[in-house]
Structure formats: C-alpha cells, structure tokens
C-alpha cells in the first residue's frame, strides 16, 4: 500500500464473548498519544456480533470514533474471518497506523492482515513513539530481552504493530463523551472461513487472573518440593490479588498448566511485582520476567542467579518464610480495613 493515508490511528479492540480485553484500553491509551502527536483521529475497530454496547467504554477511554464490524460469522474469532473483515476496511480507509494487542489471537491474525495488505508489522512492542519525520518508531525486545530494537516502516502503509499487554498505560475514562459509531458492511461468507471450531474447552476459570494481565504474579519453582506445597503460593497470591505462575520445572512436572509457565517456552511478563519462590532463576526463566518493576526472590541458595535480578531477596527456608509473609499481609490488610 502507498504512502497516501487518511489521518487516522487505529486500535483493534479485542473482545471475547462480549467483554473487552484489558489490552484494548491500553491500545487506546498509547493510540491517543500517537494520534495527538500526529494531529490525527483515534479510531477503535470493534469486530464481533451484538457488541455495539462496547462503543461506549471505548469512547470513554479515548476513541474519537468506533468502526463497528458485526456479523454472526464474526461472533467468535477465526483467522480467516477477522483477516478478511479488517483487511478490506484497511484497504478502503487507509489508516496511517494500526495497533493490535499482542494476545494469542492478535498475534495470530495481525501477521495475516499484514501479509494481505502488504505492509510491515512489528511484533510485541513495548514502546511506541512518533519521530521528527512523523514515522511510527517501534521498540521491541529481541534475543530474550538482551537487546532492544528500534524499528520503522519507512515506505509501506499502514504502519502496523502488536503491543505487549500490561505495558502501555490507559487514560482516565471520560464517560461524558458520546460514541461516534460507523457501521461497516462486512462481506464474510461461510465459504470464506476455512477453519471450523468444533469445540471450545475452557481450562481457566474466568475469574482467575491471567499472568499476562496481572499487576502482581507469585511464581513457584522446584524448591517447593512437591505439588501439595503449591497451596502456599496460591494462598499468598490470593492475599495479594495476584496471578499464579511457575517455572518450567514445575510445569514439566505437571503441577501447573503450560499457560502459567513463565519463561522462554512459556509467557513473557512484566508486572509491577513479581515474586519468585523456590525458583533458582535459570536464564530461560529470567528472560520471561526480568523486566518486572519489582522482583522479590525467596530461595535457600544464596548463589541462586535469581538474586542477581531481585530488588529484594531473602535467603532462607521458604516453608517458614512464605506462611509468615502471607500471615503478615493478612493481618496488615485486616488492620487497614
């Protein structure tokens, strides 16, 4: 696609069963900053069916307008359906920038869209800005976070990026803003969707906090000794309102499901607080969590590499320490209330 664009920055708003994912608001937060720098409008693109109610929160959190793409065939995400709907809209409207959440679905269909509209795409960005030439500057980690790369898309438009969840700040909502909805005709026929969802298996309680969206994560490792002791981690996480994660060792041992694994072959996270309990800190684990704001490590081995990245480390017996910490937190919170 050529350089000719309309003056719009787009945030692809991901909804699941009628609920917006948190990253959708974060995209509007960063999208607002970029669009203001460019003097352009910020549009949310909402794909689904019977989701027009969501235009109100999207507007409150910064969208100047909402493109609404509704069809029964778009009720649930499919790569073919979502790629077709969005690619056609991009070709018609020619936005300057398109931002996706780097979620499981976002990272599956954003590249498909990029290949179809023949433009560049930068994955899992942790920083975005506009340079003096008005280009989108995209910052992302590579080599397990050992290097950061600064990337631009000089010729092709739109400039597309997926953005890591839990990194960008959302703005304070303004509920007085009235949604400006533009309904878009969707031409997705059943023959255009080549993968068929036969069944949906939910393994995660919808109330459970996901590690990639959590403000606090409490993770356990081999030092826990046996799966029953995971209960200590869960109790601490509950008091803190935290998600539970784990090292590869305990996921491979079957104590925790793979979607809770933190590290190279699991999830990369950067919460406000990361607590590593009984985790020695193999580099495969560190690459998945070392950009967390505060890291607390508890381990009996003073030489454990986890202490090199810890903000606060306690060398000691986790079986004594964790219950003591959980109990003090409980008391502190009870006292406050």
């Amino acid at each position: 696609m050529s350089q000719e664009t309309t003056k719009e920055v787009w945030a692809i708003s991901e909804q699941h069963e009628g609920k917006l994912r948190p990253v959708s608001f974060e995209l509007l937060g960063i999208g607002k900053k970029l669009s203001e720098k460019l003097g352009e409008e910020l549009a949310a693109v909402l794909i689904g069916n019977n989701v027009s109610d969501l235009a109100k929160p999207l507007t409150a959190y910064g969208a100047d307008k909402v493109y609404l793409l509704e069809d029964e065939l778009l009720r649930r995400y499919t790569p073919d359906g979502y790629t077709k709907a969005l690619s056609e809209l991009i070709s018609n409207k020619k936005p300057s920038i398109v931002l996706f959440g780097a979620t499981i679905n976002g990272r599956e269909f954003a590249p498909r869209v990029a290949a179809r509209v023949q433009t560049g795409l930068t994955a899992d960005c942790t920083g975005l800005d506009i340079d003096d030439e008005g280009r989108l500057v995209q910052i992302r980690p590579a080599f397990g976070g050992k290097l950061m790369a600064m990337i631009v898309c000089p010729q092709k438009r739109p400039q597309m990026a997926s953005v890591r969840p839990n990194v960008m700040k959302k703005t304070d909502p303004d509920w007085s803003r009235k949604p400006k909805i533009e309904r878009v005709d969707v031409n997705v026929g059943p023959e255009g969707i080549r993968t068929k969802i036969l069944d949906i298996v939910k393994e995660v309680n919808p109330e459970t906090i996901k590690v990639e969206e959590a403000r606090i994560i409490v993770s356990g490792g081999r030092g826990l000794g046996s799966p029953e002791n995971l209960k200590m981690i869960e109790d601490l996480a509950q008091v803190l309102g935290a998600a539970v994660g784990g090292s590869r060792a305990i996921v491979d041992a079957g104590w925790l499901p793979h979607h809770q694994q933190i590290g190279q072959t699991g999830k990369t996270v950067a919460p406000r607080l990361y607590m590593a309990i009984g985790i020695s800190g193999a580099i495969q684990h560190l690459v998945g969590m070392q950009t967390s704001d505060i890291i607390i490590a508890i381990n009996k081995d003073p030489e454990a590499p986890i202490f090199k990245v810890a903000t606060f480390g306690i060398v000691g017996d986790l079986f004594q320490l964790v219950p003591a910490i959980t109990e003090s937190l409980r008391k502190a919170i009870a006292k406050k209330n």
């Binding site: 499981i104 599956e108 397990g144 949906i200 607080l273 003073p302 060398v315 003591a324 406050k336």
Partner: protein, 271 residues
C-alpha cells in the same frame, strides 16, 4: 501426507552475551541450535509420516552454517531438505522471510506445512501466519495436538487460547504452528545421524526464485531496524539472610508499602 516443515537455526540465546563497550551481541563462541519450537514441528511431522506414510521435507533460509540445523532434522527422520541461501536473502524481516519461503514452497507439493510458533531469537511468531497468507492457505497457530484424517483430507487440531483451547478443523492443505506440549522431540540416533549425511540437501539461491532479487532480504523488507541498544541494567537490589521469618516478612511488607504495592497507612498511624 506430504509435509513441509520450516525451520530456523538460532543462536542459543541463553549463551549470548553483550559486549560491554560496543553494546552489541557477541556471537563468537555462541553455539547455534535448531529453534526449539521447530523441533516440536519436525517431530510431529515425522510422527504423522510414521502413521500415515508420505514424505517430510524441511526448508530453511539462512547462511551456509544453517545446514547443520537441516542435518539435525534429517537425523531425526526427515526425508530431504531445502536450503535457501544467498546474500540477497540477508537482512530479511518477517514479511520478506515469509515471502521467500513461499516462493520456494509453492514449487513443492504439500498437504501440511508445519512451523514452530516462533523463533527464540526474534520471538515474533509472524512468519507462520504470513507464509500461510502468501500461499493463500488456512492456518491454525499454536497447536498442542494434531490428528490427521487423510481419507477426508482434514486435520483436527487443539489450538491454545487465553481460556484453554479450541478444537479446530481444517481441510488440507493447511499451515500449523507448533507450541510446547505438542510432543517430546526425539534425540537423533547414531543410525539417524549417519543416514542424514546421505540424504539430499538441495541448495536454492535468489536467482532460482526470481529474476529481480530486490524482492528478497533487506531490500524486500517493509520494516527497517534503525538501531539496537541494550536495555537499562537493573538497579542492584538488597539480599538479606533470614534468621527470623517474621522479621524478614516485616521488612518485605515495608518494601511493598514504600513501593505502593500494598498500603499500610492505618498501621502507620500513631496509637
């Protein structure tokens, strides 16, 4: 089943160090490995072949030494390999990489294309879906179980989602990307390693794929890396020895309160 597996040779990220002066990667002495996610893809392709018959062809794009990664796949049990290697391919972003792979693969017969979900050096997870789009075939990304039905020319795959997984069906041909949990990759046997040396590795250059080679590599890439830099090193933290768990817990709570993770305001009030 004709199965094509796309693989990448990557530096063992674990061993990588940063030059403290130039802030660039020190590549010397860092072992190169077959991308771990691609191992799951190769293993699954071989298992499908063992069950249903057919052929497994591995394809890589990379410098001369990437041949080692192909040899490993052949030793695991792949039948033959294709090595896309040319200076014109260098510096490719995901768009140009997937485009180049597509130009080579569209000359082959295939029912299934397997990729690892992502490579551990770039971590983009973009080449698989972009390749599927260039070839105009359906995709299922992030699969942890695959069943092939050759008679009806279908696959049924378990695709990881944020909530669990979906059971997804697709007609062949299809592109699948593999995640951890799909299988336990085999370690090549001595016989496998010996037989790998006799298997075909076909070398393809840019001129074999297009008259105008500016569509490949850096020139064919929509995105450009302006610069690379090392992230700010973490500030050195405090490590204490715990003699009294309650005292350690008290210090920890103080830290959490000072960083506004928890609030202890009422407790701080004078009695």
């Amino acid at each position: 089943m004709k199965i094509v597996v796309c693989v990448k040779q990557v530096p063992d990220v674990i061993e990588l160090k940063i030059d403290p002066v130039t802030h660039t990667l020190i590549r010397e002495g860092v072992p190169s490995i077959l991308n771990p996610f691609d191992e799951f893809a190769v293993e699954e392709a071989i298992r499908i072949k063992e069950k249903h018959g057919g052929e497994v062809v591995v394809v890589t794009m990379g410098p001369q030494q990437a041949r080692e990664a192909l040899l490993k796949c052949l030793a695991m049990g792949a039948d033959r390999a294709i090595h896309l290697t040319d200076r014109a391919f260098a510096g490719a972003d995901t768009w140009a990489t997937s485009y180049t792979l597509a130009q080579a693969i569209k000359r082959l017969e295939y029912d299934i294309i397997f990729c690892g979900k992502q490579a551990i050096d770039g971590d983009t997870a973009q080449v698989g879906p972009e390749l599927a789009e260039h070839l105009r075939i359906p995709q299922i990304a992030g699969v942890k179980k695959v069943e092939v039905d050759p008679k009806n020319r279908k696959v049924i795959a378990h695709r990881e989602t944020d909530e669990g997984y979906e059971i997804v069906e697709s007609n062949l041909p299809v592109l699948l990307t593999a995640i951890k949990g799909l299988n336990e990759p085999r370690i090549p046997s001595i016989m496998g390693i010996l037989s790998a040396k006799k298997k075909e590795i076909k070398v393809i250059t840019a001129a074999d794929l297009a008259d105008d080679t500016s569509v490949f590599g850096l020139k064919g890439s929509p995105t450009q890396v302006l610069k690379v830099f090392t992230p700010e090193p973490r500030a050195r933290g405090v490590v204490i020895q715990s003699r009294d768990p309650n005292e350690a817990a008290r210090q920890l709570l103080e830290l959490l309160a000072s960083r506004r993770i928890i609030s202890l305001e009422k407790e701080m009030e004078p009695q």
